[in-house]
């Protein structure tokens, strides 16, 4: 097991290399200029050139790439052009809202999706199952920004239960913090719940058709025990794959939701940085997200073994 984990972690090195170089080249090759954005649309060419020189952006691109990669290998992601602070610090400052949002959204999605998916499988073709399928379809079809705007209209403007937008740090109270994350978490969870619930339903239907479930029923176990002890645990293995990837997907969904609800998270940071062409931040955030993806996938693989003793690594 330890060798397997070490091997997977060692595979991070080429991932970082490929992602880093690709992102660096992509963002430097697309047009746009942070100096022009800082100086505003009325700045003259001479002013822009002056600031480009001061920021070191007039060096050849390969020189900038080598300098950047040298720093990355030393664990230094560089400094943000706009935020005037190290990129790692900027990521750290923006991590809290994103972590809170994704955790809440994932918890909400799981709390709704797993029980309803299992129940829909158990009551296959019933009214509940049909309503469930409609919910799933809406969940995966409606974009999260639209859900978000409607939630604002309903629960922040008509019934003023939650703030329209903005983030409250947990240091200012758990209640206000949860209040600021409630609507964005629901908007984000809606799509995820649809995906997870669909998988939970389908895998439960498959498991319920297995011989060992028939055996369990024939030996007189009641349906609740059959579901809880035999069906759900086995149905969770394929569902877990979706949960793992959906956690990673939540990060990309957070980009949209954080922008709509003005949450100062990683998603908002990357959107702002792209529009300003803040190259070091874009590079740093993409590298960070790539690492999160790889680590999450590793954790999911390890959880397979915990859930199913037949799966062994090493």
């Amino acid at each position: 097991m330890a060798r397997y984990v070490a091997g997977r972690l060692a595979a991070l090195v080429p991932v970082v290399l490929v992602v880093g170089v690709t992102v660096f080249l992509l963002i430097h090759l697309i047009p746009g200029d942070p100096a022009q954005v800082i100086l505003g649309p009325d700045a003259s060419a001479a002013q822009v050139a002056q600031l480009r020189h001061a920021l070191g952006l007039d060096r050849p691109i390969y020189v900038q790439l080598v300098l950047w990669f040298e720093r990355v290998l030393r664990g230094d992601l560089g400094n943000s052009i706009f935020l005037r602070r190290p990129v790692a610090q900027a990521i750290g400052e923006h991590l809290g809202p994103t972590a809170g949002l994704t955790a809440l959204a994932e918890a909400l999605a799981l709390a709704v999706a797993i029980p309803s998916g299992v129940l829909a499988a158990w009551k296959q073709h019933s009214r509940f199952d049909q309503a469930f399928m409609l919910f799933v379809l809406l969940g995966v079809s409606i974009p999260s920004f639209w859900t978000g705007l409607n939630l604002i209209a309903a629960f922040a403007v008509s019934i003023r239960l939650f703030p329209v937008a903005g983030y409250v740090s947990p240091a200012r109270g758990i209640g206000p913090w949860l209040g600021s994350l409630a609507l964005p978490a629901v908007a984000l969870a809606f799509t995820q719940a649809g995906l997870i619930a669909r998988m939970a339903r389908d895998s439960t239907i498959d498991v319920l058709a297995e011989d060992y479930v028939r055996t369990a029923r024939s030996k007189g176990l009641d349906e609740a025990a059959v579901l809880a002890r035999h069906a759900v645990r086995n149905a969770l293995i394929p569902t877990l794959t979706v949960v793992g990837t959906s956690l990673a997907n939540l990060l990309s969904g957070a980009v949209v939701v954080e922008t709509v609800f003005v949450l100062p998270g990683i998603g908002n940071l990357v959107v702002q940085s792209i529009s300003r062409r803040d190259y070091p931040v874009i590079e740093g955030v993409v590298l960070f997200v790539a690492l999160v993806y790889v680590v999450l996938n590793l954790l999911v693989d390890l959880l397979y073994a915990a859930l199913d003793p037949r799966i062994q690594y090493g």
């Binding site: 697309i30 047009p31 746009g32 200029d33 942070p34 022009q36 954005v37 800082i38 100086l39 505003g40 649309p41 009325d42 700045a43 003259s44 060419a45 001479a46 002013q47 822009v48 002056q50 600031l51 001061a54 706009f82 935020l83 005037r84 900027a90 923006h94 705007l149 604002i152 209209a153 922040a156 403007v157 008509s158 019934i159 003023r160 703030p163 329209v164 937008a165 903005g166 983030y167 922008t259 709509v260 609800f261 003005v262 100062p264 908002n268 940071l269 702002q272 529009s275 300003r276 062409r277």
Partner: protein, 524 residues
């Protein structure tokens, strides 16, 4: 049967709507100013920097002018009046300006404002700002006379000197000499000014917070605009960058924000329908134009630029771009009608006179034979791309072969700097205060306009004393006539901004070309 929760929610809704409709429950109106509280402002964009000398961006200006002040500034009628300056004297030959500072001025760090700070600030402005660079072409030296007085020696008569020192675009604000030395030509990070509010903190993506300056030394005159008497009633001003306009609107209607900037004009009926909201229609806001590449491609020929002017129908372009007629105006001026000192109607016989036959004749005369022209626009600003949607078929109707290209704004900014990549781009021009400061008259700005006629006219303008109103009016007419003859930019129309504030919470607010929150108070 409805669930109890649903019934409770519906009851809540009904109760809230009744409360909103009941006039007796409204918060008190303007009344006497109240000290304290926090003004919450939802902005549409976050600035790249708050150093006002470094950036021309609106997002910078509307935060920065609470913190920084210059020697001179605009009043409510868009005329320049002293701010940090007590006054000034001009030598009989017009080549020496002696400017006295007001007494008792202090920076936010407690240091007194001295002539050394002023000299350092003006010299930096002369290097950083395009207006400053133009002004310093006429300046021989800026020197300290004593701690409260400076002298500006000119190499030639330059009447717009004081006007340019009060120009709010990349303004000549005064900062401590130590801050100037520390930041050099990079945007300053130590934000120390003399204004009624002090920079407190900036949490990127979240908020910019300013706090009242308890030691602010205000003028006493009721001049309005950016100068005159300024009182910081609120303890704080918090600026929140909220990119989604619907969210800004929802926030101001619930009272989470006291004022929301730059809302789409189609929300106006909703604003009018809500008695707690007041729409501020900003008339001196921006005008839209078609910028030609005069250094490369077909539009180096003036006749083809004139052909575009005659091919366009401004009313259709403005209706598509902006929408309701309440929010736009067809006007030939390089300046807005409210800017009485510089406004001219010269060129009215050409502007807004679509004539397709004349356009085709000019194209034929210029030998146009179907060369492809690239029209760049952006979807980052809805009006911009909407304008292109109508402009392109209008140009095609007279026989231009057009290739529309749509980019995000940073990409458009980058591409427009390269002479061989485009023929036309669309942009908006925020108000200028002097013809020498009009950005597209500069030969280095994208479009690369060079005109001997205009240079001579601007030189005459610069040497004509501000006091000679008749001569300046005549010159301004000549400058605008040249604008319509040489067509460096084809003007489309003036468009107005929509700012909305919650009138139960924000009081004393007055309309201006950008929002300001001194002399304004909140009752939360």
């Amino acid at each position: 049967m409805r669930s109890p929760l649903l019934a409770r929610l519906l009851a809540c809704l009904v109760a809230l709507s009744m409360m909103r409709a009941a006039p007796g429950l409204a918060a008190p109106g303007g009344g006497e100013p109240v000290r304290g509280g926090v003004i919450h402002v939802a902005t549409n964009a976050e600035p790249g920097t708050i150093d006002w000398q470094s950036s021309t961006a609106t997002a910078t200006r509307l935060v920065a002018w609470h913190i920084f002040e210059g020697l001179f500034a605009l009043d409510r009628n868009y005329e320049v009046k002293p701010l940090l300056a007590q006054g000034y004297a001009v030598s009989p030959d017009g080549l020496r300006y002696t400017i006295r500072l007001r007494q008792g001025l202090k920076f936010h760090n407690g240091q007194p404002v001295t002539a050394d700070d002023v000299v350092a600030s003006l010299e930096r402005w002369g290097k950083l700002s395009s207006g400053g660079q133009e002004t310093f072409k006429a300046i021989k030296q800026v020197k300290k006379v004593d701690d409260g007085t400076i002298e500006i020696d000119l190499g030639r008569a330059f009447a717009p000197l004081i006007t340019n020192l009060g120009d709010p675009k990349q303004a000549a604000v005064i900062m401590p000499k130590s801050v100037i030395e520390a930041s050099g030509l990079k945007p300053a990070t130590e934000l120390v000014g003399t204004g009624p509010y002090i920079f407190k903190r900036w949490t990127p993506g979240q908020e910019i917070v300013l706090a009242r300056n308890p030691g602010y030394v205000s003028r006493t005159e009721d001049w309005g605009g950016i100068t005159g008497r300024k009182v910081a009633y609120a303890d704080e001003i918090d600026f929140f960058p909220v990119t989604d306009p619907q969210v800004r609107f929802s926030g101001v209607s619930t009272g989470q924000y006291d004022l929301a900037l730059e809302l789409p004009q189609d929300l106006y009926p909703k604003v009018k329908a809500d008695p707690h909201l007041t729409a501020d229609i900003v008339r001196v806001f921006s005008w839209t134009g078609v910028v030609f590449n005069k250094a490369h491609g077909v539009f180096t020929d003036q006749r083809l630029r004139q052909a575009v002017l005659f091919a366009m129908k401004p009313a259709d372009l403005m209706a598509a771009a902006i929408g309701p007629k309440t929010f736009w105006q067809l006007d030939p001026g390089l300046f807005f009608p409210e800017q009485k000192g510089v406004y001219s109607r010269a060129g009215a016989e050409i502007y807004n006179h679509q004539n397709l036959d004349r356009a085709r004749a000019l194209m034929k005369e210029a030998g146009y034979h179907g060369q492809k022209i690239i029209v760049m626009s952006t979807k980052d600003y809805t009006w911009n791309n909407n304008t292109a949607q109508v402009l392109v078929p209008e140009l095609q109707a007279v026989g231009f072969s057009v290739e529309p290209q749509v980019y995000d704004w940073p990409t458009l900014l980058s591409r427009r700097a390269k002479q061989d990549l485009w023929d036309i781009f669309l942009t908006g021009f925020s108000p200028s205060i002097d013809p020498t400061a009009i950005i597209f008259f500069g030969s280095t700005w994208p479009g690369w306009y060079k005109s001997e006629t205009l240079e001579q006219e601007l030189a005459k303008w610069s040497s004509t004393p501000v006091s000679d109103a008749a001569a300046r009016k005549k010159l301004m007419d000549q400058i605008q006539t040249t604008f319509y003859t040489e067509v460096p930019v084809a003007k489309i129309g003036n468009y107005f901004g929509l700012e909305v504030y919650n009138n139960t919470r924000l009081h004393g607010y007055t309309s201006y070309f950008d929002v300001r929150f001194w002399n304004t108070w909140v009752t939360h």
